[in-house]
Symmetry: C2
Subunit: 261 residues, 2 copies
DNA sequence: GCTGGGCTGTCCATTTTGTGGACAGCTGGT
DNA sequence: ACCAGCTGTCCACAAAATGGACAGCCCAGC
């Protein structure tokens, strides 16, 4: 996502970057200084672009709090695009069941290039919850259980490419995300079918994930559960993993059926 | 949507325009020459922008057919934005019921600035169907039953502003869309509660619509039905109108309930 | 089998367009 | 009263987008 793609594209890639940044904070909205930092652009430029995007309805500017949100036009386009990418309807009942039966929070993430994006969340009943993951949050593949679950079923050369990011991942997420650690986790994932993330991103905040496959057999989505360490003891992991695999499989199967568009 | 908004925004507005154009053809995709026409830009410029957008995942380029589609990134962002604009989940059962009970095709449209955009469609069982309206299609307010239904509940001065578009509407959609004709239709809509579009856009292709109101009492969406003239005889209109109003009211009520975000 | 229309993809000189350093002015904390 | 950090805006400058032009492809029609 970093390399310069086409010529004459500078603004487009900047705009896309801004949209992604704003999209990461659907609840609170994103503040200008934060966006400036995250985008690595100068403030006037970001300011101008954000305003232009808002004028087109692609963003929303809350003038009270001075926060920026994804706008109605994106919602509309997303709804139209959903015809081609519909999975949420299939996944929602599964998430609900996962949350109901486990008490943990359940998530659907989708693979987008070299990242995963969280699309849907169903909160569990257990009163201690982690807020590392929520709608719009992006992680590189290999970080967080969803991305690990997906990565485990990618071809070896792609895994190599993804792991070799010149240290950016380790720097951002810590030494537990070294290539070796991740490879070990992928291996364990392939054996069990599901991933366990033992607090790699935030100590005490555990997660488990299972991949969902598209019609071509590619791992394109993942279901995951998050919660505190005490709820992911080995005895319970087996039960949680079984549930995740069940639901993931259910969705994978359903995706094979309807021959629409 | 035409006036230049902010300075330094040219590309942003062009990009937004392109996305909207591509979004109008979710089924077939849009071909480059058509996009060039619709956008009023030169081909190299459109070409470059489309490619840049595709590189960012905002568009999809089908290289077989050389068509352009809304891309996965838009889908993802739309899903995230949906948290703030959720209505589809509420509307889908209503559309289903409308389609089931009437046999016509049922639609949900949303107001977006001075236009309506069709978000959802449920096909009816009746074997003759009109394809004027489908997901992604945009009409100016005042054209098509959804836009009329919404417009009927806007303040007078806004109606004035919308109708006074310097003849563009009449030129594009025909003399049946003169300010006077529309005003008469709005009047009738306010009396009945629902709109009847007696083949104004395409002869023989009728429609009926009813507005759905947001929490502030603004008409922000519309349910509509389309079909052939013979299925919209006066006797049946009453029944169809009643159904539309019922479902529209049901959604309006539901929107008032959940105090989320 | 040739011709022409319409298409995709690309180049590069031109200049329009976006850029960002700098500044004004506001707010809230101390 | 001061400072830190914020929003909003200006404008000289140069980089980046623009679009006219061209090469080459494919298919329909004759």
């Amino acid at each position: 996502m970093a390399e310069k793609p086409v010529q004459g594209a500078q603004v487009v890639s900047r705009v896309a970057r801004l949209l992604r940044i704003v999209g990461r904070a659907p609840e609170t909205g994103a503040a200008l200084p934060d966006i400036v930092d995250a985008a690595g652009l100068t403030r006037p430029t970001v300011y101008r672009l954000l305003n232009s995007l808002a004028a087109e309805g692609l963003l929303d500017h809350n003038t009270e709090t001075n926060t920026w949100h994804l706008g109605p036009e994106l919602y509309v386009m997303g709804a139209v695009a959903a015809g081609r990418y519909a999975i949420e309807d299939l996944a929602r009942p599964s998430l609900q069941r996962l949350a109901d039966e486990t008490g943990e929070s359940a998530f659907l993430s989708i693979r987008r290039g070299d990242e995963t994006v969280c699309l849907l969340r169903v909160e569990g009943s257990f009163p201690v919850r982690s807020f590392v993951l929520h709608e719009g949050v992006r992680f590189p593949l290999g970080v967080a259980s969803a991305g690990l679950a997906i990565m485990a079923f990618l071809p070896e050369e792609e895994v190599d490419r993804l792991l070799d990011d010149g240290g950016a991942r380790v720097e951002r997420f810590g030494p537990a995300h070294s290539a070796e650690s991740i490879r070990a986790n992928l291996e364990a994932t392939r054996r069990a079918g599901y991933t366990v993330n033992p607090g790699l991103i935030l100590e005490g905040s555990w997660g488990m994930g299972a991949a969902v496959f598209d019609r071509n057999g590619q791992p394109a989505w993942a279901l995951s559960l998050t919660g505190i360490e005490q709820r992911f003891r080995p005895e319970r992991q087996e039960m949680l993993g079984k549930l995740l695999l069940e639901e993931a499989h259910k969705i994978t199967q359903q995706l094979k059926e309807p021959q629409s568009r």
